[in-house]
């Protein structure tokens, strides 16, 4: 178990193995997102109340789910970096920040665009929307903190602490629709119950969610590999790699 842990901590090992995974993940992401989009836009039936604007769900829900998962991965990776001084965890945590920020923004924008025809307003200061906005600012804060501190280890420590403190926001987002009166509808998917929609509506949603997660892996691996090169450029294996062409 521990040799596995140490190997995973080795940037060189990760660089090599992730290079092999990357094309497969990219193909999976492309296939899932493409088929999911076609299904979502052209084949899923209209919602009886919302008409076609409900098709926004196929972007909005996966983006919001991913935004929160990405935050949790970033916080956990940051904690691993803090506790075991694992460099690779620091790099992964840093890579998560801008990806997470972009998907949080996507969830907010699609939510606003969906809110207009459904609720009659782009934005309300209700619990779910406000806690998602806070998530976005947390991501931006982490990105800013990374660029403000030039010492890499210090930056990793500071952002990991900020990410861990901000972790309290995640259950707030999750339960905001239950704790407060909100315009936002409750969760579409739960682990214990069958979705309230018919299968021809939720199957493409599931495909999109899987596609978004595969895409996230691709983006995270791409950024982390770059981060490895930038930090390890003095080592002989990176020099060899860069010399190759």
């Amino acid at each position: 178990m521990w040799t596995w842990f140490h190997r995973l901590g080795s940037p060189r090992w990760f660089y090599n193995i992730s290079g092999r995974w990357l094309p497969w993940l990219a193909i999976a992401a492309a296939l899932l997102i493409f088929s999911g989009t076609v299904w979502a836009l052209a084949f899923a039936p209209q919602d009886y109340q919302q008409g076609n604007s409900f098709r926004i769900i196929y972007i909005h829900v996966p983006a919001a789910l991913l935004a929160q998962s990405c935050y949790m991965i970033m916080a956990v990776a940051g904690a691993i970096g803090l506790i075991w001084k694992m460099k690779l965890a620091d790099m992964a945590a840093k890579s998560c920040a801008s990806i997470g920020a972009s998907f949080t923004l996507l969830a907010l924008v699609t939510g606003a665009v969906w809110g207009k025809p459904t609720w009659g307003t782009w934005w309300v200061w209700d619990a779910r929307l406000t806690s998602m906005l806070i998530l976005f600012f947390l991501y931006l804060g982490i990105v800013a903190l990374h660029s403000a501190i030039s010492d890499r280890d210090q930056a990793a420590k500071a952002t990991a602490v900020l990410a861990l403190v901000g972790l309290v926001n995640i259950p707030i987002i999750k339960y905001s629709v239950e704790w407060w009166n909100t315009l936002h509808q409750p969760a579409t998917f739960t682990l214990t119950e069958k979705p309230a929609m018919p299968a021809e509506m939720w199957v493409p949603l599931l495909i999109m969610v899987l596609g978004f997660y595969c895409f996230f892996m691709v983006a995270l691996i791409m950024r982390t590999r770059l981060e490895i090169l930038v930090r390890e450029w003095r080592t002989s294996w990176v020099k060899e790699l860069l010399a190759k062409p």
Partner: protein
């Protein structure tokens, strides 16, 4: 198929603008997340090549 014609599909029963803005934003986010690391990687490669040349020059001068 839940649409009878292509213009119906674009129109989305009056919600076309909302739906297409959402999907376009998603596309922009995907493109951003792929292009950013590629661009940064290219910059890093150019920088490294320059560094390499400088070191070689220094080595041949001394």
């Amino acid at each position: 198929m839940s649409f009878s014609s292509f213009s119906d599909f674009i129109h989305m029963g009056g919600h076309g603008l909302y739906v297409w803005v959402s999907y376009a934003t998603a596309l922009a986010v995907f493109v951003f997340n792929i292009l950013m690391p590629l661009r940064l990687r290219k910059q890093f490669m150019v920088e490294q090549a320059r560094q390499q040349r400088r070191e070689e020059q220094n080595a041949s001068h001394s």
